[in-house]
């Protein structure tokens, strides 16, 4: 099963990295950019019989390691049968 997890800082936690990126955008003329927060995307391939089982395993992984729930919220975005696309060669 292919599982995609999004991890982001909880609302109200100051995102200094996001603020710096927002300032850089403003410097490039994107004054219309208002709010910017940087998060993480993690794609995992899990051996599981059903999407529900995969989701449950990944939820456990998030609580144990992938997210620090003091700071971060996580959402399990998509669970699909099949394998992740092979990694493209980077040149």
């Amino acid at each position: 099963m292919k599982v995609r997890v999004l991890i982001r800082l909880k609302p109200g936690i100051l995102d200094v990295q996001g603020a710096a990126v927002l300032r850089a955008l403003a410097g490039l003329g994107f004054a219309d950019a208002r709010e910017l927060r940087v998060g993480k995307l993690i794609d995992i391939e899990v051996d599981a019989a059903t999407p529900a089982a995969a989701q449950q395993r990944v939820d456990e992984m998030c609580r144990k390691l992938l997210a620090n729930t003091i700071l971060e919220d996580y959402t399990i975005e998509a669970v699909e049968a099949g394998r992740l696309a092979p990694r493209q060669a980077v040149r």
Binding site: V16, Q17, A20, N68
Partner: protein, 237 residues
């Protein structure tokens, strides 16, 4: 007393701690590899600074779940002493041995400088040789040292006097200008509920000889030695 200095891939202060323990305070010390689970012959485990596992995912996150840190949970439950500095503090927080978490510095800069630390709790095994209100000078060297805990956790931490050090001016004023990384309430170091696990962002091992610019870091290790003599650990060996 016997010290163990934990080495993760990417640890950088391990040799400094080993040197200070063996050559300055002259106690038996050995390195402990991150895959080791046997800590039974140690009185105090040191988690040194550095970038364990490249700080991948989050600083200290992967190390916080490593075999040696799993063994550390039992070591702490049995009353063993643990000192985590810099990356070691991040690892202790990620492992749940200390409350809160360390985040990217608010200034976004890597800060490598001397800091003044106001001593708030002198009832711990690591600070019993100090006076409350004393100011220590120790260097910091980190990019992710902004201590954060949610309001209920912070209130509980304060209620049990878990805050040991705060960033301050040379005369002990806890002000924003003395805060190098944006830590909540200038927090630089905290202890667990039993006082046996201390985490701090500054580097005591880099303030341990006059040639290094100061010896305030030694006071923590000397306090600990005094504690071990008093509680009998030292004599049992």
């Amino acid at each position: 007393m016997r010290f163990g200095v934990v080495v993760f891939p990417g640890t950088w202060s391990d040799c400094d701690f080993h040197y200070v323990i063996s050559e300055v305070i002259r106690q038996p010390v050995k390195y402990v590899w991150h895959r080791d689970r046997n800590l039974s012959d140690l009185d105090c485990v040191i988690l040194p600074g550095g970038f364990s596992y490249g700080d991948y995912l989050r600083a200290g996150a992967v190390a916080g779940k490593s075999p040696v840190v799993e063994a550390l949970l039992e070591f702490v439950a049995n009353g063993g002493y643990v000192l985590g500095s810099c990356n070691g503090f991040q690892i202790l927080c990620e492992a749940g041995l200390l409350p809160g978490v360390l985040m990217r510095n608010e200034c976004l800069q890597y800060r490598c400088q001397s800091t003044n630390l106001l001593v708030e709790n002198v009832e711990t095994p690591f600070t019993r040789g100090l006076r409350a209100g004393q100011v220590l000078t120790m260097p910091i060297s980190h990019g992710e040292g902004k201590y954060y805990a949610d309001p209920p956790t912070l209130a509980a931490l304060k209620a049990r006097h878990g805050i040991v050090f705060r960033y301050a001016t040379a005369d002990g004023q806890v002000v924003k200008a003395a805060n190098p990384n944006g830590s909540v309430e200038n927090i630089a170091g905290v202890v667990n509920e039993t006082g046996t696990v201390l985490g701090l962002m500054p580097h005591p091992e880099r303030a341990a000889e006059t040639a290094m610019g100061g010896t305030d870091g030694l006071l923590l290790l000397q306090s600990l030695l005094g504690t071990l003599v008093e509680d009998g650990t030292f004599l049992k060996r």
